[in-house]
Structure formats: C-alpha cells, structure tokens
C-alpha cells in the first residue's frame, strides 16, 4: 500500500466504517457471542496497542520485543492517579500517556542506536529489567506480585469520600465505566457499556491519528527507513530522530492502552510487562498485516476473540460438538482437540503464529488481497476479457 494509492475518499470511507463498527459494535458482535462488555473493551484496547506497535514495526521495520513494558507503565500510572487524585479516567489517562511517553523517549534514545536483531535484544533487555524490577525493588510503587490495587483508604483528594462499604469505581465525570444498558434484540442480549464506548472513542482517535501519520511526510520517511535506511542516510536524512519519533508515538499508544486496561479494571500487575505479552502484540500486528492501517486492529480482534472462544472450551463441550462421531473415534478426536482448547489455547496461538509467518507473512489483509486479485486478475493475461465479463454481468 503506497501513499500514492491512497485517496481522501478511501480514507474517509475507512474512517466512516470504523465509526459505524464501533457505534454498533454491541449489535454486530452479539451474534458471534462476543458482544459482552469485557471482551469488547479488550478488542478496542488491544486494537490501540497494536496500531501503535504497527507505527514502529510496520512502518520502520524496527522489531521491538519490549513494548509490553510501556503497557505496564501506563497501567501503573493510571492506577496511581486513581489512588491519589481521583477516580475520573481523564487524569489517569493523561498521566499514563505522559509517563509512558517519557519512558519510551529514554529507552528509545538508547536502543535506537542499534538496528536489526540488536535492537530487538536491547528492547527485550529493557522490558525484562522493568519486569524484574517491578517484582522486586520497585515493590513500593508496583506492589510486587499482588499487583497494584485500589484501597478503601486511598487519599483520592479530589473525590468525595465514599459511602461506607462502597468500592471505588472508575468514571468519566460521574459516568461509571461499568454502567451498562442491557436490552434484548432478536433474542440476543445486547450490552451497551460505558467503558466500551470510552475505549471505542479513544480507538477511533488513535486510528485517525495513525492514518494521518501514514499519509504524512513523516510516514513516507518511516517507510523509507524500512525500505532502505542506508540510502536514506546518503539522501541527506538523519534517520535517528525519525525512528525515535515513531518509537515514542508507539510507546504512548501502548501506555494509553495500559491506562485503559486500568480504567476498565483498576488493577495493574507486572505480568503485563512480561516478554510473552510483548510477543503477543507482535503476533497481532503480523496476523492482521504489518504496515497496513486496518491490519493490526483486525489482528488484535481476531486474537482476543479466539482466545476467548478457545480458552472457554472444555472436554464436555468438545464431546457435545463431536457427538455425531462414533464413540471410539470421538474420544480420539476429543483428546486431540482438547490439547488445543482451554488451557491449551496457547498451543493454538503458537500454531497460528507459525502458520501465518510461514504461509502469509503479509498477514490476513494480504490474504484477502490475494483472494481478491484472483478474481480481478487471473494469471495468463486474461485480465481484460475477465473484467469485461464481470462488467457485462453487473
């Protein structure tokens, strides 16, 4: 996808599509069994995380294996804001952005001195340091293994004191994040949840911002870095500031996602910073299509959706699914299948990871494009003939 192939009209349509998808999310997702608040919030939050990661990896080609550190930092910052200042999400998100941006600036400044595998290892090293420190010395800030939680006697200097027995809840000027309007539609229960819409609106803003970057001179420079950094140097461009800009922006996206995780569930733990979590966002981006605008959101959605489906399955459900098979065969099938679901979801994830990288390194969007081009441009030069037929049929 090149800059020249983008058109203002196409971008506008993409934006409108996003708005419709987010507004009607609860209705669209309900038939897939994914229309409940918790999962929809995750779609939006990890969508933001992946969009941000894509600005670094998709555009510049710098593979960071430590982005979960920024997610964790964002979560801790937000929870601290909840504890000290107010349960309103705005200050929490602002602090999450500031701190993660600062953190990304420092780490990016150091790690971007190297590229390729060295960069990957350096980012990994910083993320592991953050993770290890969060578990040990930084316990006063992170509350170690228990994770940082809200307490009834936190100061919360801006908020009115709680009625006794109340638990503090994150809110947006009084609108509580867990408030949900439930309704029934065609026999399905629809949930319109405040937290989801907050995440959705921020996803929309994040997407719009990413689109502007993709279509800007900065975006073109970043793509040029991925394409041929050496040439860019000889073209008179000092690439370091550009990569650092991309790094900080993607760090801020991750911090924002971390802050939102804390808004929907006011808790922050160090496991969010583990390198497997960094690996997950890499997978989301690759799965959807690195370097594309929509890919990372699709990837994040797909992974969270299948995680939800697969990890919920258990053996008795599998038995029900395969009940049409004869007994002996059914047991065999179920015992194989059960290693892939429930606790075994990670196994499915790993297999998926490999399949995508092996057969579809361009991601799902690339796959869609290939399928489309099969129809539009059959090999062997029959293009005109074919399109003529399509036209006459239409």
């Amino acid at each position: 996808m090149t800059v020249s192939s983008s058109s203002p009209r196409g971008d506008m349509l993409m934006m409108l599509g996003m708005i419709v998808a987010i507004v009607f999310g609860p209705i669209i997702l309900a038939p897939f069994g994914a229309g409940y608040p918790d999962l929809m919030q995750k779609f939006a939050i990890y969508g933001i995380f992946a969009i941000g990661f894509n600005i670094l990896f998709g555009l510049t080609g710098y593979l960071s294996f430590g982005h979960a550190a920024f997610l964790g930092v964002g979560s801790y910052s937000a929870v601290w804001m909840f504890k000290l200042l107010s349960m309103n999400v705005i200050p929490a998100l602002i602090l999450a952005i500031l701190i993660s941006g600062l953190f990304a600036l420092v780490i990016g400044f150091i790690t971007l001195r190297r590229s390729g595998i060295y960069f990957a290892i350096l980012t990994l090293a910083f993320a592991q340091m953050s993770y290890n420190l969060a578990y040990s010395v930084l316990t006063p800030i992170t509350n170690g293994e228990t994770g940082l939680q809200l307490l009834l006697d936190d100061p919360r200097i801006l908020d009115a004191p709680l009625a006794s027995g109340d638990l503090p809840l994150a809110n947006l000027f009084g609108l509580q994040m867990n408030s949900t309007y439930e309704t029934s539609f065609l026999g399905m229960t629809l949930y319109f949840n405040a937290g989801y819409y907050l995440c959705g609106v921020i996803l929309l803003v994040a997407f719009y911002f990413a689109m502007r970057i993709f279509r800007s001179p900065l975006g073109m420079m970043l793509k040029a870095i991925k394409s041929n950094q050496n040439r860019l140097n000889y073209t008179g461009v000092n690439t370091r500031p550009y990569t650092l800009t991309a790094f900080v922006i993607s760090g801020i996206y991750a911090g924002l996602a971390g802050g939102l995780l804390a808004c929907t569930d006011p808790l922050a733990g160090a496991e969010r910073m583990q390198w497997t979590a960094s690996g997950e966002v890499v997978l989301m981006t690759i799965l959807g299509g690195a370097g594309t605008l929509l890919g990372p959101i699709i990837g994040a959605g797909a992974i969270k959706y299948f995680e939800n489906i697969f990890s919920a399955f258990n053996e008795s459900e599998l038995n029900a699914v395969f009940s049409f098979l004869p007994d002996g065969l059914r047991e065999a099938v179920v015992s194989v299948a059960s290693t892939f679901v429930g606790e075994g979801w990670q196994l499915t994830l790993g297999v998926l990871f490999m399949l995508i990288v092996i057969f579809l390194p361009g991601g799902l969007l690339e796959g869609v494009r290939r399928i489309l081009s099969l129809f539009n441009r059959p090999p062997g030069g029959g293009m005109e003939e074919r399109s003529a037929r399509v036209k006459s049929a239409a």
């Binding site: 190297r114 595998i117 290892i121 350096l122 290890n132 390198w275 690759i286 290693t339 490999m354």
Partner: protein
C-alpha cells in the same frame, strides 16, 4: 577470599548452561544465518528427555503380597519397577543413574529432532528477513512448550541426581582453606565439567576435522563456501542437529539442579540471547566467554552485600551489562564486523 570463591562456584552451573545454549545459537547464526528463538525450547526438550527416561525406567509391575496385609485387610501391593524385575541390581542402578543414562537417549533424539526441524522449517527461512525467522521460531517455541505442558503438566518435575553424586564437595579444604567454608554440591561441579567437555569437543571438532573447517569457513564467508561446490545444505542440516543436541544435553544434565517445567526453555532463551549478543554475534569463543562472564556476574550480584548496596541489581545485572556492552562495543565482546548488522 572464601566468599569470592564461593560466588564464582555458585555461578558456574548457570554459566555452563548459558555457555552451551549460546554456543549452539551462535553455531546456527554463524553458519545458517538464522536467528533461532526456539533454542531455549530445545534445552527444555532435553530436560524432558531425562524426565521421560526416568519415568520409563520406573514403570512398575504391581504384585500382591502373599503375607502382608493393609489396614483394610486386603493384600499389600508391592511395586517393582520392570527394570529391577528384569535386570536385578543393574536395573536398580539404571534407575538411580537415570539422568546420565538419559544422555544416550537424548543425543539421537535431539539430533533427529534438530535435523527434522532444519529440513522441515528452518531451511525455508534462510532467505527470509530476520524478523520472520525470529517470529516463526518464537511460534515453534510456544508450540513445543505447550505440548510439553499438556503431556507433563505445569508443575516442575524433580529429577534426582545419582545417589553417589548427591553429596557436597568441600572445595575450601581441597585447596588448603579452612574446611567447611566453601562447600559445593557435587552434581553442580559435575555439570561444569560436563559442559567443559562438551564445549571442548565442539571446539576440537571444528578445529581438527574437515567438516569443522568447512563450518568455520562458512561462518567467515557463507557465499564463497557455497560457490566452492561444497554441499553445504547437508552440512547445514548436521550443524543444526548438532546444535540441537548440545542444547538437549545441557538440558538433560541440568535437571537435578533445577526441576524442569514447561517454561524452562523460555527462561533460559532470553538470557542466552543476551549472552550471544554480548559475546558477539557469530563468535563461538565469545559466546562461551560471555556465558561464564554473565553467569558469574549474576552470582556476585545476588550476594547480600551487593544487594544492600544496589537494591535489585541481581534482577537486572545481565541486562544492564548487555545494554552497556552493546552501546559501547556494537559487535559485542568478540563479534566480527558485518555480522547481522542490517
């Protein structure tokens, strides 16, 4: 003096494992040009070879005792491992020595696994970008560890060292210091000797055989060796298999030190990569040296005196050293110019 010696000794076992894993990683980098994120998983597979062998050897026959009764009045069950039933004392010995005996199983198994992995997967990634190599092997690592988890469960499975080797060695007394101050588990020392042996064999092999010469030439300049008409494909396969076997052996022998569980590989992988990078991509002596350097540094950093001075240093020392070295010496301690720089 005693304290320093003790810390060095304490660092040795981990160092040895780092060095062996890093050696294989570097061998793969240098010859095949592939970044293998599944190498930690190979270490873990080796460890589970030991678990499997131990389990197989301890399979038992249940017979009912004619004389003894349980509290419920039923005949007492007597469990006799098949190994003992068939081989008598030799069987008992086999079970006791199951960890070293596993080596005999692990070598062919890991070689075969490595060969299949190279033929089936890695081969198709020689020409792909490093990012994709990292990702596909990362995926494979997840798959391997999850399979192990579903077969062996999530909990660590302790593996005993042979009874004769479970004791302590009094190093202090051996070198003339006060007895009892520097004592060290015998098995850990054996692990260190084992690692030295493996590393020594690898280096000797590379130095004194034609095969080794080709591999070294390939590490220096892959394209030229390819042009010389040497069948490097087969050598690549064997090199990969050998690297897998080294990782596997490191894993087998490590089981009495640390009870293996499914994420053992991941834990070691990250550190081993740091070791490789610190040592210098593509440098075998660098990998070994960095393995020992970092392992022993880590051991020193976890001394209480150091920790009270610099809280948390034990948690991050390896990464910190890696960052400093990478920023001051871009190619690591002994790296060559031009390896993996783009």
């Amino acid at each position: 003096m005693d304290a320093i010696l003790l810390q060095i000794l304490n660092g040795l076992d981990k160092s040895s494992a780092y060095a062996m894993i890093a050696l294989g990683l570097t061998l793969i980098f240098g010859t095949l040009g592939v970044v293998n994120f599944a190498h930690g998983a190979l270490f873990m597979l080796g460890a589970f070879c030991a678990v499997t062998v131990h389990r197989l050897l301890s399979l038992d026959i249940v017979t009912l005792s004619a004389t003894e009764k349980t509290a419920w009045g039923t005949p007492m069950e007597i469990r006799t491992p098949y190994a003992e039933a068939w081989f008598g004392d030799f069987g008992t010995w086999l079970i006791d020595w199951s960890v070293p005996v596993s080596i005999l199983v692990a070598i062919p198994f890991m070689l075969l696994f490595g060969v299949l992995m190279e033929r089936g997967l890695i081969r198709h990634f020689y020409k792909r970008p490093h990012a994709e190599q990292i990702l596909v092997t990362f995926g494979l690592a997840i798959v391997l560890q999850e399979i192990i988890k579903s077969w062996f469960g999530a909990n660590p499975i302790p593996q005993p060292a042979p009874e004769a080797l479970r004791g302590m060695i009094d190093f202090g007394a051996a070198i003339g210091l006060e007895a009892g101050n520097v004592v060290y588990p015998a098995w850990r020392f054996i692990y260190f000797l084992f690692a030295m042996g493996v590393i020594g064999i690898v280096f000797a092999f590379l130095r004194y055989t034609t095969f080794g010469m080709v591999v070294r030439a390939g590490m220096a300049d892959r394209e030229t060796v390819g042009l010389l008409g040497i069948n490097i494909d087969r050598r690549f396969t064997i090199t990969f298999g050998a690297a897998a076997a080294i990782a596997g052996l490191a894993g087998v022998m490590y089981t009495p030190i640390l009870s293996p569980d499914y994420h053992l590989g991941m834990d070691f992988l990250v550190l081993s990569f740091v070791v490789v990078v610190v040592g210098g991509m593509g440098s075998l002596p660098g990998a070994v040296a960095a393995g020992f350097l970092l392992g022993i540094l880590q051991s020193f950093a976890s001394m209480n005196e150091v920790k009270s001075l610099l809280p948390g240093i034990d948690q991050i020392i390896i990464y910190l050293v890696a960052v400093v070295i990478l920023l001051t010496r871009p190619r690591g301690l002994m790296g060559r110019k031009g390896v993996m720089e783009t």
